[in-house]
């Protein structure tokens, strides 16, 4: 083994750069160990004790950066040391250039991008409304990712937007696809003739990816933020979005997704639908069924696809019933692998809409379901960290996300919970959503692999993947890795939920 080091006298790099470069050089081929570390007395002792001593080490002081590499081959050591220096230099250069391209206010941003017609705003809520107003006054559409914007401000902004013929997507709008461009948490989907308006972010992701995976495409996907369909906001942007799609030449079919709007809002939406000449599929999660409207996001997406292809949307339900029979057979196989006493579903979701959809599906068969975000008659969990019988958890709720990244980005909390639930002798099924696309974790399957592998020794792990092969994470590869870990991967959240219910039904867990 060869160990060599460099001492960069008085070299100051921020900790994140040091970590990144350290990680990069440690991962280089042939490297046994490597580090970038300040030359303090303590650190030098540790280097010596770890077999990373080199002749010049003693010359380093508190203010000097040590780069040390250990490898079998001397040539590798030299190359890696050079690479480390190059990486550090380029980190410095990036810092110098970043400032030139980093405007600090809206005017500066417009100067650097004069043709912009949309502002995506993601700042602390108490400042966001003012910036959104400025953007609208400058003639820009607005996507307002920020939350903690007051209801009054939301109403004012949306009225202003409506007056000016501008979209106000949000607040708390995390997903949109405009002119084929995924914004914030969104997926790479095919372009096509189905336009979507959604007051449910992961709902939009689910339907848009299902549409794309079924061979059709999305013209525009407009998010409105969850509060838009409440009485106070009156569905302003939901209706403006619907009207915009009705007038859009590229859109042939319109798909609406939300939780049930307030009755007055629903009436206004229905009035606009009646005047729309294009077919409209309405997916109102949890609304009383009229027999024709879709019952799940999957069904809604497939109905929109059928309409886009000139087929009868009523055939979708028949096909899904045939698929349900297949799901029943899968449930039988899975139930047979479970032990005595295992009877409950523990659903751990990163997407709020999936949490709601699961509860709606479960409520048809399961008597008692608990959730930290109850829907469809579910009980409120007393302690979000402790499951009770059948439990559906939205890990995107505030109690899990204050001061930490969203569970679509950071899997650590969910992974801990998966292991904990798998240790509970009453757990039969762990149900997961895996959401791909921009903004989500770059490799969810890798994050989940180890815990799923451990969990499947004791429980069935069922998941759905929301995404396409065009997403940075590549849906197909994610599916392969999750299957290798032992998870059952279903084509939609609804299918995964049905399978989970099917399993516990056979285990006597419905009561």
């Amino acid at each position: 083994m060869t160990v060599r080091g460099l001492i960069k006298k008085g070299a100051y790099f921020d900790s994140i750069t040091l970590m990144r470069v350290g990680k990069a050089v440690s991962a280089m081929a042939g490297v046994s160990d490597a580090s970038l570390i300040m030359g303090t007395h303590s650190n030098k002792s540790i280097l010596v004790n770890s077999g990373l001593q080199f002749p010049e080490l003693d010359q380093a002081g508190d203010t000097d950066l040590i780069i040390v590499v250990k490898a079998e081959k001397s040539q590798v050591v030299d190359e890696v040391l050079k690479s480390a220096e190059v990486l550090l230099k380029s980190a410095n250069r990036r810092s110098d250039n970043a400032q030139e391209m980093r405007p600090v206010n809206l005017d500066g941003a417009l100067q650097s991008l004069p043709g912009a017609n949309m502002a995506v705003i993601s700042i602390a809520g108490r400042y966001a409304a003012a910036e959104a107003r400025k953007a609208l006054e400058k003639g820009l559409h607005v996507m307002l990712f920020s939350d903690n914007v007051s209801l009054e401000q939301e109403i004012e902004l949306k009225k202003l937007g409506r007056e000016r013929g501008l979209l106000v997507m949000g607040p708390d709008c995390g997903t949109a696809i405009i002119n084929g461009v995924p914004l914030a948490f969104a997926n790479v989907v095919s372009r096509g003739c189905i336009g979507i308006v959604a007051a449910a972010g992961t709902g939009l992701q689910e339907v848009s990816t299902l549409i794309s995976n079924a061979g059709q495409g999305v013209s525009q996907a407009i998010g409105t933020g969850g509060r838009d369909v409440k009485k106070e906001v009156g569905g302003i942007m939901f209706i403006e979005g619907l009207k915009a799609l009705a007038a859009d030449d590229e859109t042939k079919v319109i798909l609406l997704v939300s939780k049930p709007p307030h009755a007055e809002v629903l009436a206004r939406v229905q009035a606009v639908i009646r005047e729309t000449r294009k077919p409209v599929v309405s997916m109102l999660l949890g609304a009383a069924s009229n027999g024709q409207d879709p019952e799940t996001l999957e069904e809604a997406a497939l109905m929109a696809v059928a309409l886009a292809e000139g087929r009868n949307p009523g055939e979708v339900r028949k096909k899904l019933l045939v698929r349900d029979a297949e799901i029943k057979r899968m449930a039988e196989s899975l139930a047979a692998t479970r032990g005595k006493g295992q009877r409950y579903i523990r659903a751990l979701f990163s997407g709020g809409t999936f949490c709601a959809e699961a509860q709606i599906i479960f409520s048809k068969l399961i008597k008692e379901v608990s959730s930290n975000a109850p829907a469809a008659g579910a009980l409120k969990l007393e302690d979000s960290l402790r499951s009770v019988k059948h439990t559906v958890v939205d890990l995107g709720e505030d109690e899990f996300t204050v001061g930490r990244p969203h569970p679509m980005i950071d899997f650590s909390l969910r992974n801990k919970r998966i292991l904990a639930e798998s240790e509970d002798p009453e757990t039969a099924v762990i149900l997961l959503d895996v959401v791909l696309g921009y903004g989500s974790h770059p490799d969810p399957a890798a994050e989940l692999f180890e815990v799923v592998q451990k969990a499947v020794r004791k429980v069935s792990v069922i998941c759905s993947i929301t995404g396409t092969d065009g997403d940075p994470q590549h849906r197909g590869r994610q599916e392969q890795v999750l299957k290798e870990a032992g998870a059952i991967v279903m084509p939609s959240n609804a299918a995964a939920c049905r399978l989970a219910v099917g399993v516990v039904q056979l285990l006597g867990g419905l009561s």
Partner: protein, 280 residues
């Protein structure tokens, strides 16, 4: 260029460029540090918060009776707020502290980065440290904290000082947290004396001015904005504000904030020599 905030420990003098980062430019007179920072970094006792980007081309800063200038321009200070960095420990009550520390620990363990010192609070985090160097670092930190809280202060501090990764090594950030906690204890009990704190501080100081600046802040019972909001939550506001404050703290540096928080928490819990924290 306009200043938004002026730290309350910035002294008159001439300061030369010490180091430059994306959002921070540090200047020194050889002993003290003054930093020009962007608003995302926040106010601090030695910080001048600028409205725009930090002037990365500046190589000298002069402070003279309320006039702040670089070698390129005068910084407009007329509307800048003065940042009060002192934490009023005297008006904080240690009652209920144990509950708030439990909440802080829970949030810190959740939010802290993988390579931070939060392994001192949750052993399972040790598995994030894989190489022999990283194991050596973990052992050094564990031994240092053991000695520190078992009365072997000087040897404990010497083990922790300068130990770890990052521009400000984790051990230094940890000791800054410890110092601030001891200042709090000093205001509530006779068990912690000025001599104890002074000795710990003197031993912890090294040659790296940035680490020293954080140590000095803590020694004086002061904190920058992001750290202060945690102290505020723990001493004055209650459990509800702790999660957000811990989140803000953990966003400091790669692990600096979490390391600081771990030291602060452990010292609040343990006092100087393994004494239990005040009961709730």
């Amino acid at each position: 260029m306009r200043l938004l905030s002026i730290g309350d420990r910035i002294e008159n003098g001439g300061y030369d460029l010490h180091s430059r980062f994306d959002r921070v430019v540090n200047f020194t007179d050889g002993r003290r540090l003054v930093s020009l920072v962007e608003s995302s970094i926040g106010a601090g006792p030695f910080h001048l918060v600028v409205e725009d980007h930090v002037p990365r081309q500046a190589s000298r800063l002069t402070v003279d009776s309320g006039v702040y200038r670089t070698d390129q321009e005068v910084l407009e200070a007329s509307s800048a707020k003065r940042f009060n960095s002192l934490i009023p420990f005297g008006s904080a009550c240690p009652d209920g502290l144990a509950l708030r520390l439990d909440e802080m620990e829970k949030r810190l363990v959740e939010a802290a980065g993988a390579k931070s010192l939060a392994f001192l609070l949750d052993e399972s985090r040790e598995k994030s440290f894989r190489s022999s160097l990283e194991h050596g670092f973990v052992e050094c930190i564990k031994q240092g904290t053991k000695e520190l809280f078992q009365g072997e202060r000087e040897s404990g501090v010497r083990l922790l000082k300068g130990c770890g990764f990052g521009l400000t090594p984790s051990g230094d950030d940890y000791l800054s947290g410890v110092l601030l906690a001891l200042r709090a204890w000093q205001s509530w009990t006779d068990a912690v004396s000025e001599t104890d704190i002074q000795q710990l501080y003197d031993t912890a100081l090294g040659e790296q001015l940035i680490s020293n600046a954080f140590l000095q802040m803590a020694f004086e019972g002061r904190a920058m904005e992001s750290v202060r909001s945690l102290a505020q939550a723990v001493f004055f506001e209650g459990e509800k504000t702790i999660p957000a404050a811990v989140g803000k703290l953990c966003s400091l540096g790669e692990s600096s904030g979490a390391d600081w928080g771990t030291g602060f928490l452990m010292a609040l819990r343990n006092g100087m020599d393994g004494k239990p924290a005040a009961s709730s």
